[in-house]
Amino acid sequence: MSILVKDKEVVVPGEALADDLGFIPGYGTYRFNNKLLASRLGLVNIEGKVIKTIPLAGKYLPKRNDVVIGRVIDILISGWRCDINSPYTAVLSSKETPEFIEKNDDLSRYFDLDDYVVAKITNVTSQNLIDLTVRDQGLRKLRGGRIISVNTHKVPRIIGKKGSMVTMIKQATNCRIIVGQNGWIYVDGEPQNENIAVLAINKIASESHLSGLTERIKEFLEKETGVKINLEDKGDYNGLQ
């Protein structure tokens, strides 16, 4: 009888969530005297005795095995420094490319300044040193297309269950779409269709809280493209294309 908020409610820093020592503070919460308070803006998540918050805002925090889109901002002696839309930059080592790179090779031949790459995070140290690789299927330099930026916390909704949402957008617009976990998204196709894909993605990001999202996005895409979508016809999604 001592939880002060509802599950999935939006809470703000300093807000009391429970006033009972029987609850265990999880991520985004802390104990003060006999109370449990929120320590960041988020949605309450109550699982048994553990209360935590799921963040709604904030910069991307890199995690191992995340596929991200990065921008080359510096060419180092044996690799590239990339902006990954996070507080810290990441390094792609020249040893982490599919092709063998000679010691004195000109690295800009592979990835030049300002190039966008889709890469995977292999390691994040406690000192926030981040390593990337492009030695995996689909990881590469991005050509053509455009990069858009969305709230990184909305990325799971844009991808959808097993990639259902992004697959639907791809099929409706015939665009290549790569969703980086860091909130950068690559869209490439016919200009008019790209616009529709971007509008759909932004619609998901801003309406992810409303019910019937998939149905609404489907209707939106059908209206814009004039083509019916068959939701049964799902392609395989591996995050890349």
Binding site: R71, L113, D114, D115, Y116, L142, R143, G144, G145, R146, I147, D188, E190, P191, Q192, E194, N195, V198, L199
Partner: protein, 258 residues
Amino acid sequence: MDFETKKHIIECLEKDVRYDGRKKDEYREIEFKIGLIETAEGSAYVKCGNTEVIAGVKISVEKPFPDTPEDGILMVGAELLPLSNPKYESGPPDSVAIEVARVIDRGIRESKSIDTKSLCIVKGEKVWSISVDISPINDDGNLIDIGSMAAVAAILNAKFPKYENDKVDYKAKTDSLLPFNKIPVAATVLKLGNNFIIDPTELEQEAADSRLTVTITEDNKLCAIQKGGDGTLSIEDIDKMMSMAIGKSHEIRKHIKQ
């Protein structure tokens, strides 16, 4: 800007598609709020797409410049506030900020819309000084045009404060408007590849090769021009861009007048 991004923007323009779905000569939606800053003698807030600015007018009494003893002073300033865009840093204004302010300032000054002679109080001693400052809240491109609209709207809204016994009483606003009648409009046209667009977003602005800002008076004359950007323009380009700017200026002037 990276080569691929720029190339893609231009490829889309070749097919008549802008990233936000607008036509090449189409403005974003414009919203005006007039007179909302009580501490200013005149003010305007303008929102155009995601670009938002506030312009405010402060009026004081100063000594005129020695070479123009009978003329009042008009000054337009703009600061690129770091609040409005992550790329701006705090500190003294850099050349980009100075260019924005100067181009707007020149457009309004040279249009002769303000009768500086009528701002004279005592020849060689005291004249009215009108300072217009433009503060962006959120910058998503086209600050020159939008800042200029806000500045002009703020001037049209401004009322003289009371002036008595050699002192300005800012608490007491009078009913008299500034001697400002004809509305100059700054219109900027960008060149990307072989495409011309107006009202650029920040992204389009960064992709542009060159830029032409033309300020157009109410009787359709040109009163200030600034070619910007690293690229060059042919005389034919300039012809096309001017026509586009002049064409658009009527529409913008209508917005300001409302």
